[in-house]
């Protein structure tokens, strides 16, 4: 048994990061994510790690990549407007394959929107936020306990695949307090980035001949290589108009795509005999579970599909589900984003209905119950 604590989601995120071995945080205060920074500001100096409050979110993302290049597991946390500001440097980390974790505690938007209310309308930005084709991993925990364990998993995936990983949860889950267990060290797996085995003279930082994830040397270890946001060859130096650009960008995407079995995680709840399924994540997933329990007690055959990995999207699972149920209901705190992914994967095999809300309040179990009954 680990340590039992009563923690807020944002605090559990910080605890998860520390469990995973995070020693570097850079951020800029923004509601509703600030508690992650405040917790790290207290803890990191105590363990000899680095805490930096930078001049803005662009700088925070840059500092995180700098820290990660020296070997630190690095974290930043933000919300809506700050998440937009981070995008260019997130793309830099994707192309240069620098592991790091970005937390986006979602609020309403666009612009300043509803800073103190929950939102789920950044979910496509989590996939497509930075320019250009790029890999995306995004995790969507819904419970404080899950925020802890998914943050550990986010660091693991980031190190293993050398790519930034986003954790996206909403204001409600971020601010809610729940009893959680902080696992003892060694209970949850903690992964380190692949390291070069060759001598420095032979090191090619972006050599893909032995696999899609090249080993990563840290700065100041004698490897003296070049990191650039320009498309680059195996030696890390810029290439222009070369077939390498095409194959290398395919590799970046393949790192994620061909490892779906490892990355995609979800909860299937009472789906075996379900006639109607609800597809929901984060706070909407919590409401959906309550709704499913309620209608089940009245004999209605409903179930829940709750993704913990939203990117890469659980395509295969949703495709399978759409062949087994009559309807998939998609409650989300946006005017319609993730529903299009569900629709894309269902290919018309079942009906798709959305419940959309952006007034700063969550979708209630009652709203979902009513819709399930309507479609039965």
């Amino acid at each position: 048994m680990g340590k039992i604590k009563l923690l807020q989601g944002n605090e559990a995120c910080a605890e998860g990061a520390l469990y995973a071995g995070c020693t570097f945080f850079a951020g800029y205060p923004i509601t509703p994510s600030t508690e992650v920074a405040e917790y790290m500001a207290r803890r990191l100096p105590q363990i000899g790690g680095v805490f930096l409050q930078m001049e803005d979110e662009i700088a925070a993302m840059a500092a995180v990549i700098g820290g990660a290049l020296t070997g630190c597991k690095s974290l930043t946390a933000t919300s809506g407007p700050g998440f937009s500001l981070k995008q260019e440097n997130m793309g830099f980390a994707m192309l240069t394959e620098v592991p790091c974790v970005i937390v986006n505690v979602m609020r309403g938007g666009p612009s300043t929107g509803v800073p103190t209310g929950p939102g789920q309308s950044d979910i496509m930005q989590c996939k497509w936020g930075t320019h250009g084709d790029h890999p995306a991993i995004c995790l969507t925990p819904a419970y404080v306990q899950e925020i802890f364990s998914e943050t550990v998993r986010a660091f693991n995936l980031s190190e293993k695949y050398r790519t930034p990983v986003i954790i996206a949860y909403d204001e409600i889950v971020g601010h809610m307090r729940e009893r959680i267990e902080i696992s003892d060290p060694g209970v949850l797996p903690v992964v380190q980035r692949p390291r070069p085995a060759c001598p420095p003279a032979e090191y090619l930082p972006y050599d893909d001949s032995k696999g899609d994830v090249p080993p990563m040397a840290n700065f100041f270890e004698g490897y003296r290589y070049h990191v650039t946001g320009l498309n680059h060859g195996p030696d890390g130096f810029p290439v222009n108009a070369s077939p390498r650009i095409h194959t290398d960008e395919l590799r970046l995407i393949r790192k994620v795509d061909s490892n779906r079995a490892d990355i995609v995680k979800f909860e299937e709840y009472l789906l075996e005999d379900a006639e109607v399924a609800v597809f929901a994540y984060g706070v909407s997933g919590r409401s959906a579970k309550t709704a499913v329990n309620q209608v089940r007690s009245e004999g209605v055959k409903a179930g829940l599909f709750r993704p913990l990995t939203i990117w890469p999207f659980p395509e295969e699972q949703v495709a399978g589900l759409s062949g087994r149920v009559r309807k998939i209901i998609v409650p989300e705190l946006s005017l319609g984003q993730i529903i299009h992914e569900v629709d894309r994967c269902s290919k018309g095999r079942c009906g798709i209905e959305g419940i959309h809300r952006v007034d700063g309040d969550p979708i209630t179990p009652a709203q979902i119950v009513a819709r399930i009954k309507e479609v039965m």
Binding site: F24, A26, P45, Q46, G48, V50, L52, M54, E55, D56, I58, A59, A60, A62, A63, V64, I65, G66, G67, A68, L69, T70, G71, C72, S74, E88, N89, F92, F219, F220, E221, G222, Y223, R224, Y225, H226, V227, T228, G229, L230, F237, P238
Partner: protein
């Protein structure tokens, strides 16, 4: 014996991308001579840049090198330095990179007085994108986006650095290259944020539009325009019109350096923790 630059240049990475007549090559060599005179191990140096012609420099040198996004070299460098405070972190940035898109990072790095060596290559223009005006372009100068002459006012980069809190501020030029070696050495040795504004010539996008007949004319302009700060300060104001001082313009020792202060806190907390245990 002639200086052996090849020990610091990555094999097979030359020729560089700079135009004939560009003065960046002169600065490149000055930096290598400065690093060599300090006998810094190459493994212990990180060189970080943003985007622009100047920012392509790190690609050629055999250090740990990082070519980042436009304007953001300083926060990347801050992350590296905070994680590895005993290493040397040099930043190379153009006038646009450092003071336009990166202006906010520039003043905050100065304010923190973090031990970075910031080399601002001021060629008074956005060279890489073809000669648009920058926050350093003198009023009246022609630029691709100031076709009637610049109506905007330039920054005084050393004054900006000093005002923001940098504890070492210097100015050198491509013409006075030997003197520049010493300024870079002093800047690297200084414990705190050091800024060296390095006056450069971009004949391709700036000189051409502004009545400089050749790259040599631009170097001669530097020769006539910049004078050692001690001599400059002795002259009456009427004699310094159109002239600028160079050398170490400002130096203050004993200003708290950010990494030192931060790791001092870490030590203090460690002792407190041990006291409690």
């Amino acid at each position: 014996m002639a200086f052996d630059y090849s020990q610091y240049i990555r094999g097979g990475k030359l020729p560089h991308i700079w135009c004939p007549g560009c003065t960046y090559g002169i600065i490149f060599k000055s930096i290598l001579r400065a690093v060599d005179s300090l006998k810094l191990p190459k493994d212990d140096i990180a060189m970080v840049s943003g985007i622009g012609c100047a920012s392509r420099l790190p690609g050629y040198v055999d250090f740990n090198t990082l070519h980042t996004t436009h304007g953001r070299a300083l926060p990347f460098a801050t992350g590296i330095k905070m994680a590895k405070p005993d290493k040397h972190v040099l930043v190379v940035s153009g006038d646009g990179d450092a003071t336009a898109i990166g202006g906010n990072h520039f003043i905050h790095a100065c304010r923190r007085n973090i031990d970075l060596t910031v080399l601002v290559f001021n060629n008074y223009i956005y060279g890489m994108t073809g000669g648009q005006y920058s926050p350093a372009t003198p009023t009246g100068h022609m630029a691709a986006t100031m076709p009637y002459g610049n109506v905007d006012s330039p920054f005084d980069i050393p004054a900006l650095a000093k005002g923001a809190g940098a504890s070492f501020v210097a100015r050198g030029t491509a013409f006075h290259a030997t003197a520049l070696d010493k300024l870079i050495v002093d800047a690297i040795q200084h414990k705190g944020l050091s800024v060296v504004e390095i006056i450069n010539a971009c004949p391709t996008t700036h000189g051409r539009r502004n009545k400089f007949k050749s790259p040599t004319d631009m170097l001669l302009w530097m020769k006539d325009t910049f004078m050692p700060v001690a001599a400059f300060e002795k002259l009456p104001p009427e004699k310094t019109a159109g002239k600028f001082p160079m050398g170490v313009l400002y130096r203050k020792e004993g200003v708290p350096e950010y990494c030192k202060t931060y790791y001092g806190l870490v030590e203090r907390l460690k002792k407190q923790g041990e006291g409690r245990a």
